[in-house]
Symmetry: C2
Amino acid sequence: MKKILEPLSIIYPLPVVLVTSSDKQGSNNIITIAWTTNLCRKPVCLGIAIGKGKYSENLIRDTMEFVVNIPGKKFLREIDICGSSHGDIINKFAVTKFTAVDSSIVKPKMLKECPINIECKVVGISRLDSSNFFIGEVLKVHIEEDILKDEREIDFIKLDPVLYAQEKYYSFGSFLEVRGFSKKSN
Amino acid sequence: MKKILEPLSIIYPLPVVLVTSSDKQGSNNIITIAWTTNLCRKPVCLGIAIGKGKYSENLIRDTMEFVVNIPGKKFLREIDICGSSHGDIINKFAVTKFTAVDSSIVKPKMLKECPINIECKVVGISRLDSSNFFIGEVLKVHIEEDILKDEREIDFIKLDPVLYAQEKYYSFGSFLEVRGFSKKSN
């Protein structure tokens, strides 16, 4: 038996990423975001939804660039700090002790300790009522060699990403099947 | 040591959903999508990215409505079939044996066997080069009572969703922490 409910956000679990941004003067911030997805293969684009009025939104609008850093589960405390404090009040780099390193193309810094860093430039913004959705074209990807199986395949078990759903963090599971398996076994 | 790579789609793992759509004449389809996220709280909106030229894209454009159905892991075979076959060639409802039931507001059908069904109307489309990103306002949500902890909280362990990353399916993990835990333990 199903209950019929009024609208609620329910596309979960989503992967937790740390987005770094910067304004032209060099003010920096880190924000935890789970409302993110891939968008396009050619060119490679991704999207991040940010609540209106957030400090990171102002920084991204200033340079129209950002970096998506993907942390493993061992950074759960840092993830939580960056998702529940305000960058205009505290310096999240100082509190988390993440190391800010220069990106290869964009102005915002990359987080050295995160095994994946994705440099993006904003190519579109979908304005919604309580948030904005930033569409970023991926310019460069930096991946820790330890979690690469080959040139482009990531060992997600080793990456051990954090998932998010309705105010709670969850761990990643285990491998099930390769896409297309249903054709082979018929 | 990190490798620097050219752009690749890397926001993973993402949750696997089954999107049902319909044109005005009643032709139906089911497409498996992992490129999805929540977008906005007020009004509640979500987004789905669909490769250009897909049959489902034409159906959605015709009625500007769709339903997001969230399956559990036990439907992995059906998920794979709907993600690796073409709705203009085969009838995915017949092949998967999913039961199509009427939605409360929109024309596209809901999949009875999926514990969550989300009725959406399209309120925006971001046109990208190789895909389109449909922004859907959530109109109604149907949730199986068995997976509800209270009025609005979902038991994701019971839901047992499928995750997707780089052509592979993965299982969901286990509970880690509640958002905000870092403030309490300091």
